[in-house]
Symmetry: C2
Subunit: 256 residues, 2 copies
C-alpha cells in the first residue's frame, strides 16, 4: 500500500494512493496501527503531496556502501556510522532544495533508501526488525560537502532547512533487500546501485540504532548512499528513483 501526506487547503492529512496513482483516499488520523479511511477521495493531480512523514527524528547512516566509502577515501566501517538530521530539514517531492550560497560552495546529492518506523521500540533484535517497520520511501541526504570536512561533526553540513527531501510516498508492502536505486540530475544518470550492496543491512541498522535510542512511529532511517555522489547547482533538478517505490524529485533554488 502507498501512503502519502497531502494538503487540500483544509489542512494536511495522510491518504492511500490508489488506482494507478490517480486517486488519494483520505485516512482518519495517522496510519500507524491500522488504517481507517474517511471515505473522502481526491484526484491525486488536484492535491498537493507533501513530505510523507514529519518524523520526530531523522537518523542517517554514513559510508554504508563500499564503493561510496572508497570514493570518499574512507574505509568501510566495522559498525554503522550514525548521525542525525533535524526534522526541520525535511521537505517533500516537488519542493525546492535551498542552496545556501553564503555558507557553502559545494552541495551534493546523496540518493538513499529510507525506512519509516511504525511503532515505538527499543533494543530490537535483528530477527524482529521487520516487525517495527512501517514502510519505505526515497530520500536525498543533501550535504554541504565543504562544511562536512571543515566541521568534523556532520550536523551543519547535513542539517540545513530543505536538506532532507523524502517521498513521494511510503510503500508499506515491499521486500527492501535488493531494489534498484538511481539518481539523476537534469535527466542524466549519476548513481545506480542495488540495496543488496548495503554493508549493514536494514535489520542490522535497526538493531544498532534501537540499542541506544528509542524509536517512535514515523521516525526515519536513511540507509546510506552508493557511489556517484556529486555537486548540485541552482537550477538543477535531482531525482531519486527506487524500484517498487517511485521517484522523489526536487529542484535546487538559491536560499539567499
Amino acid at each position: 500500500m502507498r501512503i502519502a501526506r497531502f494538503s487540500t487547503g483544509d489542512g494536511v492529512a495522510f491518504g492511500v494512493v490508489e488506482e494507478g496513482e490517480q486517486v488519494i483516499a483520505k485516512i482518519d488520523g495517522h496510519p500507524f496501527g491500522g488504517i481507517q479511511l474517511t471515505g473522502e477521495r481526491y484526484p491525486l493531480a488536484e492535491v498537493r503531496v507533501v513530505a510523507p512523514m514529519l518524523p520526530s527524528k531523522v537518523i542517517a547512516i554514513g559510508r554504508n556502501y563500499a564503493d561510496h566509502a572508497k570514493e570518499m577515501g574512507n574505509e568501510a566501517p566495522a559498525e554503522p556510522i550514525v548521525f542525525l538530521k533535524p526534522n526541520t530539514s525535511v521537505i517533500g517531492s516537488g519542493e525546492a532544495i535551498a542552496y545556501p550560497e553564503k555558507l557553502s560552495e559545494r552541495v551534493d546529492f546523496e540518493g538513499e533508501l529510507a525506512v519509516v518506523i511504525g511503532r515505538l521500540c527499543r533494543e530490537v533484535p535483528v530477527e524482529r526488525a521487520f516487525d517495527v517497520i512501517f514502510g519505505y520511501t526515497c530520500a536525498n541526504d543533501v550535504t554541504a560537502r565543504d562544511l562536512q570536512s571543515k566541521d568534523g561533526q556532520w550536523t551543519r553540513a547535513k542539517g540545513f532547512d530543505t536538506f532532507c527531501p523524502l517521498g513521494p510516498w511510503i510503500e508499506t508492502s515491499l521486500d527492501p533487500s535488493d531494489l534498484a536505486l538511481t539518481t539523476t540530475v537534469n535527466g542524466e544518470l549519476r548513481q545506480s546501485a542495488r540495496t543488496s550492496l548495503l554493508l549493514h543491512d536494514i535489520p542490522t541498522l535497526i538493531a544498532h540504532v534501537s540499542a541506544f535510542m528509542t524509536l517512535l512511529p514515523g521516525d526515519v532511517i536513511l540507509t546510506g548512499t552508493p557511489a556517484g555522489v556529486g555537486p548540485l547547482s541552482v537550477g538543477d533538478e535531482v531525482s531519486i528513483g527506487i524500484e517498487g517505490i517511485g521517484t522523489l524529485t526536487n529542484r535546487v533554488v538559491s536560499r539567499d
Copy 2:
C-alpha cells in the same frame, strides 16, 4: 519567572513556580507568547516535576570552554562545533540516568547551561538573539566517552535514552553572561566555572545555528561544558547547579 512542567496524575502541564519554590500555578496550554494561568495551584512537594520541555530538537555545542578543549587534547575551535541529541534522550531532574553497561565502559557527566528558544526563527542576527530566547535551564550532556572516540560522529555516544537531563525548571528572567556553574558527584565538587568563559557566547551560538536550521519554540541549545568532566558509576548522584536557576540532580542506575 520559573516555568516547570509537572505531572499530577491528570496529565502533564506547564506551571509557574511561586512562593519560595513551595507552590506551582498551572498554565493553560504552553507558555510561549504569553502565559495564561488556569487558577489551579498545587504544593510543589505534591506534584512530580518532569523535564521542563519536550524539545523538537536538542542542539549541543562541543569544546566551548578553552579549559575543557585542552583537557580533551583539542584546540579551541574557530567556529562552534554543532551536534544533535535526540529528544528521546531528555529526562527531568530526579529521573535516573541509565548506564548502558553492555555498550560502554566510560560514561561521563558534562554540566552545561542550556538555552530554551521561545519562538520560530531562522537567520537570527547576533544583536537580535536575546529576542528569541524563552529562558535558561541546567543540562547534563551525558557522554559515553569510549563510543565518542570510537564512532567519530558523536550521535551514539551522546544519544542514549536518558543522556540529556534538563531542569529543574526554566528561568525566564536572567542575564546569562556571567553565571557560576558547578557540577558535583555524590556531593564532591567536580566542575566549577563561569559562563563568561564560553568561547562562543549565547548570541553567537544562536546566530550560528539559526543560519542553517530553523529553530522552533521549545528547542534547546546546550552551550558546552567546562573542564573537570569525568566518569559516572552506577549508584552515583550527579548535580549541575547554575546561579539564578537551580540544581538538576540525577542518579545513575544500570540500564541492563
